[in-house]
């Protein structure tokens, strides 16, 4: 019992009051306290305040303001899941074994039977390859492709299992596969052909797109009523392709007719026939023969360009050496080492050439105007004034880009910056994403059907790459100005930090190896932070409204009241 200074009234001390309301004192002492409280308003108030404080504490602790984190929600399933993974591996191995058995034994027997005159009627072929399965798969699927497809399915499972229930995921994925495989091919369905040397005979017509893959040389002597995609050693198009030709090969010859465009990634491309539209070529050597004709424009990045035929529209070219003796119906914009224009050349539009040596132009050549020549100047980029001007312009553009991002997704931006400030995790994840995503995208593209997914992944990867410097810039801004409390403060820090990073990195980038390493570090760090923030976003949470466990409301102390009512 304490005595208040200035008067002689004795009051209960706080400890006694606390022990009283917590029922931690003996009965006799409790009666004394109770009697005193009836007479003393001050002590009554103190007891009342302490009791309210207890209730407030209990309420504050019991209130559920955070959902159960995903990793805890999934924790108890881990042991079971590890067993399920074993089953998954077993299933995968069994499937691979079955496939190997089929391709190693069943298929050769089937082919032998077919050669012996029993083909086309066996049950397996009838049910699977002539029925629900689209027939092109028969020749397309290889073990590698199966593995790639399974990998894709695995990625799909891994992603979606976090969003929905496992059984639903399995049903979804299997249903998706079945749907894709069971879809009847449209009339103009694509055709897949592969082999050591593939030929589309002169009398043959392919209705739809044609995918050709071969180890040797492919020949298209017939008609492809669609696009032609080719992957192989070499390609001769002697027939007619009504769509585009997209080709990856060592050597390509277009002797026939292509109504659409030609996109070529090859060592040598020779056009002796007709191309109705445009040509885009990344080659070592490109020749448009005197008999060759391109209806549209020619855009090319080559070492050696020979243009003897007829080009309907513009030429846009980067090369080491070019020789022009044919007809160009439009402008010429070229950059390279040397260019020579023969007496037979006809160029209808202006000719602008930027190179190391002046162009050799025959006086007999028919040009719309004299060649506009600019000599290439070779000096380090950083010695040129416009390099810095462009750096400033790009810095401003990136800051603007960052501003737009911060305003569009302020919460996510904040989460990304927080993730970046953990250093270890984002850098580790960044390394994985930086190298892993392109590899995964390539694996996806190998399956052909996964091309959209692969392109999407690469697009997203590039977007992250461009955002990485903004993330790192904002972290640097935070180091200097401290942590921001709102979006505009965060934008200010981003702008300052980004500018500083650019200023420091510009001279550093000129230092061999070190510049590259620093650049890589920035990318990895920024990409990792974005990935980490994304991961946390897609990480599922158990909603606060989910069924509450019995322990969600632990028993209150018997002497406390909740909401003003006795417990």
């Amino acid at each position: 019992v304490s005595e208040t200074p200035g008067n002689k009234i004795q009051h209960l001390d706080e400890m006694t009051c606390l022990l009283y309301i917590e029922r931690q004192i003996d009965r006799t002492r409790a009666q004394e306290v109770s009697l005193h409280a009836q007479e003393c308003a001050s002590c009554r108030t103190l007891l009342h305040a302490l009791e309210r404080e207890s209730r407030l504490l209990t309420r504050a602790m019991l209130e559920e303001e955070e959902p159960l984190p995903a990793r805890l929600a999934e924790f108890q399933e881990r042991a079971r899941r590890s067993v399920q993974w074993v089953w998954g591996v077993v299933f995968g191995l069994a499937a691979t074994g079955a496939y190997a058995l089929y391709t190693g034994y069943v298929e050769p027997w089937q082919q032998q039977l077919e050669q012996a005159g029993f083909g086309g009627s066996n049950l397996l072929s009838l049910l699977i390859f002539q029925g629900a399965f689209w027939k092109g798969w028969q020749s397309m699927i290889t073990l590698l492709e199966v593995v790639a497809l399974l990998t894709l399915a695995g990625f799909g499972l891994t992603f979606f299992r976090r969003r929905i229930r496992r059984s639903s995921v399995l049903a979804l994925v299997l249903a998706g596969f079945c749907t894709v495989l069971a879809l009847p091919g449209p009339a103009s369905a694509s055709e897949f052909r592969k082999g050591e040397s593939t030929t589309i005979n002169k009398e043959e017509t392919i209705n739809g797109d044609l995918f050709l893959t071969c180890g040797g040389r492919g020949h298209v002597d017939g008609t492809v009523d669609g696009d032609l995609f080719f992957f192989g050693q070499g390609l001769d198009v002697n027939g007619h392709v009504t769509g585009d030709v997209i080709v990856f090969a060592a050597s390509v010859r277009i002797n026939g007719q292509v109504d659409g465009n030609v996109r070529s990634f090859a060592n040598n491309l020779t056009i002796s026939g007709n191309v109705g539209k445009n040509v885009l070529a990344f080659n070592e050597v490109l020749n448009l023969d005197s008999a060759g004709k391109v209806g549209g424009s020619l855009t090319t990045f080559v070492e050696s360009l020979g243009l003897d035929g007829r080009l309907g529209r513009d030429l846009f070219a980067f090369f080491q050496h070019a020789s022009i003796s044919g007809t160009i119906g439009g402008d010429v914009r070229a950059k390279g080492n040397t260019v020579s224009v023969s007496p037979t050349a006809v160029i209808a539009g202006p000719f602008r050439f930027e190179g190391n040596t002046p162009p050799e132009v025959s006086p007999q050549a028919k040009l719309a105007s004299p060649v506009e020549y600019h000599k290439l100047e070779h000096k380090p980029r950083y010695m040129e004034g416009h390099y810095y001007v462009w750096r400033i312009i790009w810095t401003a553009a990136y800051i603007l880009f960052g501003l737009a991002l911060f305003l569009l997704v302020p919460k996510f931006a904040g989460e990304t910056i927080s993730a970046a400030e953990r250093y270890g995790a984002p850098i580790g994840l960044g390394v994985l994403v930086f190298f892993g995503v392109p590899i995964a995208a390539i694996v996806a593209c190998v399956t052909v059907v996964g091309i959209p997914l692969g392109i999407l992944a690469i697009g997203f990867w590039i977007l992250m790459l461009n955002c990485a410097e903004i993330v790192v810039g904002t972290v640097v801004g935070n180091w200097i100005l401290g942590h921001a409390t709102d979006t505009w403060e965060m934008i200010g820090r981003m702008a300052l930090g980004f500018a500083i990073v650019r200023i420091l990195y510009t001279p550093l980038a000129q230092v061999h190896v070190l510049g590259s390493l620093v650049g890589l570090g920035i990318w990895v760090w920024g990409m990792g932070a974005i990935s980490l923030a994304l991961y946390r976003r897609i990480e599922p949470v158990i909603s606060p409204g989910a069924s509450s466990p019995p322990l969600a409301s632990p028993p209150l102390p018997p002497h406390t009241t909740v909401g003003g009512q006795p417990a």
Binding site: E14, A49, A60, M61
Partner: protein, 194 residues
Amino acid sequence: MTAAGITEPREAIGRARAGDAEAWGELYREYAPAIFRFCRRALPTREDAEDATMEIFMKLRGKLNQYDPARSFTAWLYKVSANHCWDMLRRRKSRQDKETEEVENVPLEHPDPGQLDRLIEQRTSHEVRKALDKLGPRARMALVMRYYSDMTYDEIADELGVRRAFVGVVLLRARHELRQVLEGNAALAAGGAS
């Protein structure tokens, strides 16, 4: 039945003790949210709470055979959780020795009842949770054990390693510390508003 009249999943507990993984999963699903919340209140960061929750359940699985079915499962669960959290905090050696010294030597100032009543009146649960985050480990742990999991003074004394008679002092000191934080926040808010 627990003190609050909530039925404990006796059947699941029995099966889990017998090694039934499904039953263990049921128990986890039922109790994990509450144990996570307990750890969240007792430990300084969310990550610590997540780690602790997982570790507690791993520990519980091994200790399930030690549980006496005659006693409350809930109470046993909280006891194990409190023990684990307090161990975690002690391992970090954060101000423990200094605190003990402070608790024993610094006298507690008698509060103005009216002022205390007004302070409690004005504070919200959210503010109290924020203030709890700023308390020392011992004060925080004591409050959580008492006002979240309703542990007795004997159990708290046992966990904190102090005499039973000293538990009241620890709790009262924790309340004083909490009030100081709450008053500081109020002063800051008033300063900010002016």
